[in-house]
Amino acid sequence: MSRIASAFNHSKAFIGFVTGGDPTLDKSEEFILEMVRAGADLVEIGIPFSDPIAEGVTIQAANIRALANGATVDGCFELARRVRAKTDVPLVFLTYLNPVFHRGYEKFFADCSESGVDGVIVPDLPYEEQGEAKPIAAKYGVDLISLIAPTSEARIAEIAKNATGFIYVVSSMGVTGVRSEITTDLKSIIAQIRKVTTVPAAIGFGISTSGQAHAMSTYADGVIVGSAIVKLCEKYGGNAGAHIYEYVKEMKGAVG
């Protein structure tokens, strides 16, 4: 069983996100280990990009902080390597296609494999365009994670059928960021996914409270939280570790 599959094996999964290098690689390593200690089942590491078009202001700002502090793609691989030496938690990169394309698919996915990165989420690589990257990712045992959105409609079955690792269900229209209310009929989307695949489906975008997380975990296999954790990084900087631990512990308890 892959590390990603095992994350969903025993209970509903809590998936946490940090931007690599926000504020430094050392601190990102610490924050990730704190998340794991608090019960996170899978960790997403954002490779910072100059123009993150799917991100709201919180994660945009984290990208800017990380790049300003000298974060690089090599640095994010080094971060993954260091985390992997200490834990078996599944690690997934989230980045935009250009840093991947620029490194070369072959080298990028080979480096994922070597540094213990289990999957990659690329918001600007939709299903129809995955063909150029997916076989190479597969060759190195890396899952290219597919996204399904509130507007996917008839596309859901086709995307889900071909999904590997887990399916990232986007909760809402728009960009990432904390939302007080999520109105998409997610139950129906999850039900459509269930009809065609056993690949786990986790919901992300806009989730910040334990109430939201609990409600979603009653029908989804996992809950993804990004901006709410990045806000702690923004607020507490290098001292965010303890706050992240407390927050993730509460959220994991809610999805339990």
Binding site: T72, H102, D124, E128, A149, E153, M173, G174
Partner: protein
Amino acid sequence: MTHGRFGDFGGQYIPETLMNEIHRLEAEYERYKNDESFNNELSDLLKNYANRPSLLYRADKMTRDLGGAKVYLKREDLNHTGSHKINNVLGQALLAKRIGKTRVIAETGAGQHGVAAATAAALLGLDCEIFMGKEDTERQALNVYRMELLGAKVNAVTSGTQTLKDAVNEAMREWVSRTHDTHYMLGSVMGPHPFPMIVRDFQAVISKEAREQILEAEGKLPAAVIACVGGGSNAIGMFYNFINDKDVRLIGCEAAGHGVDTDKHAATIAKGQPGVFHGMKSIFCQDENGQIAPVYSISAGLDYPGIGPEHAHLHDTGRAEYVPVTDDEAVAAFEYLARTEGIICAIESAHAVAYARKLVPTLPTDSSVIICLSGRGDKDVAAIAKYKGVNINE
């Protein structure tokens, strides 16, 4: 490999949330592009509202001065709203209405596309919101007010470099939040398919007219057609109907800013590498980590780190040539055209004029070249004065 490609370039690299919307747009465009009533309505607007066909003006004084090929200027600057941008927005606004959208959003650099979009929206009764880099709202304050006069809301974008690329980012973020009533009226031959095709088709009227006009005037095709290139919409419009005329050189002039050997330029073909950004695979100025590079040009309309995918392909196949033109050369050409022909052109278009000044003297006198004057230069007068160290604050 998906459709919507120009060789290796193009494609649809956008968030899943937009995929159904972009497929719908593609299907609707395929339906309307051959629809008689749609085309009649567009032709009527182009003729009776936008002032088409635009003149192909024989610039005799410039011809005599340069001493080579005859110089013709394709006068897109005489269009309503003062640039070629009106060709595209009228087409897209009509399309948006036909497919039931009530609101359009658009990015703008210099403000030309924003003004055109606001104009078309006012005319056709659509709500309009423009995204413009904060730095550009300052460089082009007059155009901001112009858009507001036309009833559009202008959002100053404060993220990133606060220029055209960031305006596109923000327009895409807005579109991904709201597709049900909103059409993204992209202003150049860039972004995900079908935009590079749609904008190209609406701008191709430039070369359709110019080809007929030059044959009428000269009895033969020109030696070269020359246009400035940012994203590349006026250039593709100027090139398109000459692509199959293999003896006609197609020349795109990129913004070299302070020079291609400095870090202050926007010369994508000269200095960029293949990449994927803003929904398309194309060529982009980027660093060793694949981060999109901050670019620079005196011209807000050319201040973009990429180029449309069809241009990348025309470059790849060698069909078109792309040459860098510096700020200094463009400003000199801006002044030259004003004094020689009495035409104040956009600083973007001045990049094409600048290269023509080098090329024309090398060509035989029985040949001709066409320069696309993509826009008029009123918007640039204050910035050029500042560049020359002249204080014109009243």
